[in-house]
Amino acid sequence: MSMNRRKALQATGGVGVLGMFVAAGVITPQEARAQAAAARNAAAFDAKDLNGVVRAFGADSAAPSAAISITGPDIAENGAVVPVGATTTLPNVQMIALLVEKNPAPLAAAFMTTPDMEPFVATRVKMGQTSDVYALVRADGRLHMAKREIKVTLGGCGG
């Protein structure tokens, strides 16, 4: 078995489906790694606080970075629909994630970037109350972060 296949099998957990596909020659080791890296991180979406999300992404902490900027209103009139965006000048970006710290499950969205994508995303999120909005960026395997406070006058989780 080639060295590349052996390493890819280790990366994909050996007996996992991706490992089987690589061993059978159905997909290349590079494709297997890319698929594993782009898969949904269930633990990150279940985490109840910022630290839980960071740990679920495999880091002890995320380094604050001035190279990440978050766009959004200072005050959101309607917490159900808050436009937020994030962009970064960090190179080799693999993921941009948007978190609303005070939401019951802070991780709102994780964008798995490809080299074909500019490191920029924008969407609209629900905010239950005034909170810091975090952008976590994985670049070159390391996790960086920035935050921006958005005040909410009418909370957006309903009920």
């Binding site: 490809t114 074909d116 500019e118």
Partner: protein, 103 residues
């Protein structure tokens, strides 16, 4: 049958600015209806964008993304006339793909 997504992809200098508006309730599972019953969780879990057959973006979402989701991103190395398609998959296993030509 779900409503179509509205997708706009405008290219300048080889980079397409893509804006998508999807129709989806994005229910968190924390709301109650008028009778007091919980409205079940129902939300888009994954979004994939392609230029032709090439995947250019994958996004994983929680119900924290607003109802009728808006999404904006930029794709490099494109030219006018290429097909930009967006696919979403939700927590019920439903899926939808819409596409547009890059202008």
């Amino acid at each position: 049958m779900s409503s179509p997504m509205r997708i706009r992809a405008a290219e300048t200098g080889g980079v397409a600015d893509v804006r998508v508006l999807m129709a989806h309730p994005m229910e968190t599972g924390m709301r109650r209806d008028a009778a007091g019953a919980v409205i079940p969780r129902h939300y888009i879990t994954e979004v994939t964008a392609r230029v032709g057959d090439r995947v250019v973006m994958t996004a994983h979402w929680s119900p924290g993304v607003s109802t009728n989701p808006f999404l904006q991103f930029r794709v490099r190395g494109v030219s006018k006339g290429q097909q930009l398609s967006v696919t979403w998959r939700d927590s019920r296993g439903d899926t939808r793909t819409d596409q547009t030509a890059i202008t």
